[in-house]
């Protein structure tokens, strides 16, 4: 699946998107955050406060317990500040 990062999540990780293949045990958005956090210091820094991070699956906001199976694109970003 494709993972996208925005705003300071993108800056901390250092890339805006990537393809990932998490193991089957990674079932929810929360699991994916935990798995990504293990990939290196930049990821651990970006996800150091997982409760602050918002997520979207295929362009729709989702909660941390949302299942990721079948997702084409998952995005992680800070709370929104548009308008």
């Amino acid at each position: 699946m494709k993972v996208k990062y925005f705003a300071w999540v993108r800056e901390r990780i250092g890339i805006s998107e990537e393809m990932v293949e998490p193991p089957a045990a990674v079932r929810t958005v929360d699991d994916l955050i935990g798995w990504l956090s293990q990939r290196g210091e930049t990821y651990a820094y970006a996800f150091e406060k997982p409760k602050v991070i918002r997520a979207a699956i295929d362009h729709t906001h989702v909660k941390p317990d949302a299942m990721i199976s079948g997702a084409r694109e998952i995005a992680f970003f800070p709370p929104m500040t548009g308008g």
Partner: protein
């Protein structure tokens, strides 16, 4: 009726956008305009500019979800949402919401509903530039509260 939704770097012309909702029709009695403008200070500190980032694809989809809901809740004749991205200097426009209806109440309510929802849910992020460098603007809890009041019975 379909809403006009645009995300663009360029500025917008408010008079031209209003004319697009009223031209050639006689059923529009009210157009409410909200325009959001870049302030020259943030938390008391002067800023040089804001840079707006968005999530292409999702931003349009999220705005459409909210314009669809506004159209189902109020008898509107037209809706326009224009959100700018990129670098925006103090005094420049950031966002425009127009709600048109036969009567003012629906137009006022729809415009306020849309702005409250866009603030809390549309995937845009502002970064400020100041003498101290650049930093991401933090979300305010009251934006979520403003959006939540529209879901109360």
């Amino acid at each position: 009726m379909t809403a006009t939704i645009r995300i663009q770097q360029a500025d917008f012309d408010i008079a031209q956008e209003i004319a697009a909702l009223t031209k050639g029709r006689n059923d529009v009695g009210a157009v409410v305009t909200f325009s959001g403008i870049c302030r020259g200070s943030e938390n008391g500190e002067p800023i040089a500019a804001l840079t707006l980032e968005h999530y292409p694809g999702m931003a349009e989809a999220e705005i459409k979800r909210h314009t669809d809901e506004a159209m189902s809740r109020w008898p509107l004749t037209g809706l326009t949402v224009v959100h700018r991205v990129g670098r925006i200097a103090p005094g420049e426009n950031i966002v425009l919401v127009l709600a048109a209806s036969a009567h003012r109440q629906a137009a006022f309510q729809a415009a306020e509903f849309l702005m409250d929802y866009l603030k809390a849910n549309a995937p845009f992020w502002k970064r400020e530039e100041s003498a101290k460098g650049t930093s991401w603007i933090e979300a305010r809890g009251h934006d979520d509260e403003a959006a939540a009041r529209w879901t109360k019975p």
